[in-house]
Symmetry: C2
Subunit: 166 residues, 2 copies
């Protein structure tokens, strides 16, 4: 089981965008540069976040991305599902129905117990991710940022790269 | 995020093997036939289960596989980790250390808050899988097996294919 690298990039990008001023946007290229990743790869994930209603895309030469809602209303689950898709990790292929001796059809009204147990675990995973907002992650970061170096790093970059879209 | 098809096959195989008599084994070919999957593919997963101490391999022409311990001592987590590996689904690439302006080195003694949150969710997932034993899954199955058709299906197959290893 493996999540793609896009999840890390997407969560860090959303966290970064939460530092923009009200009318500011960041370009995909700036986000990619800050995180040292390829723009074309990141763009795919930014578009997925846009499609899921987490980011707003401002078109045009001064355009870019910004959050579509507050960082306290975006959970890690929102981002993970936007980037990875909504299907559960375990995908039952109904192997109980295969082979020379498949399970009688009348059992098919209920999911296989194994599938049901795997989906319980998926729900626990998602519930945990749904508990954590981007705002909470940034709060934890700030708590540990004794000398302000982390915030300063983000601010300096935003100052240089933020575009005023209005 | 996606688990391989091997997980479903492995859990179903372990459940099947729990029906063997004390000195019985099943060949990989029989398990593959029952589940309608490729023997060579299943073999890979059976070997992983063996390597993880979940199955015992009995060598020789009358050999095959059996459980290395009771079905009440094998959890879904044991099987998932054996087949999929022990690495968490989220693999932090430390992108906070990349780019033209990486986070100062003194922050590296703590994991990134995003990584920590993702690992909390992984722990919740694993805790849930660790709660469910193969015996419990079979218990649920038996409860719903009003007319005994499911058990009869497994027994008929075992009767035909079980090898006595001693
Ligand atoms: S048939 Fe898919 S998990 Fe049992
Ligand atoms: S650096 Fe990897 S999750 Fe933050």
């Amino acid at each position: 089981m493996k999540l793609g690298d896009g999840v890390e990039q997407a969560i860090h990008s959303v966290a970064m965008l939460s530092g923009l001023s009200a009318d500011g946007v960041l370009s995909a290229a700036a986000l990619a540069e800050f995180h040292g990743v390829s723009t074309s790869y990141l763009l795919k994930h930014l578009q997925a976040l846009s499609g899921a209603g987490i980011l707003q895309t401002v078109p045009g030469p001064r355009g870019g991305y910004r959050l579509a809602r507050g960082a306290d209303e975006i959970t890690l689950l929102d981002v993970v599902l936007a980037v990875e898709g909504r299907e559960p990790a375990f995908r039952c292929k109904e192997i109980r129905q295969r082979g020379p001796n498949p399970l009688p059809q009348r059992y098919m009204t209920r999911p296989c117990q194994i599938n049901a147990a795997m989906l319980r675990a998926e729900r626990a995973y998602r519930a945990e991710l749904a508990k954590t907002t981007i705002a909470a992650v940034l709060g934890e970061l700030a708590e540990q940022d004794m000398d302000g170096a982390v915030v300063a790093r983000g601010c300096a970059f935003l100052e240089q790269h933020e575009r005023k879209s209005s």
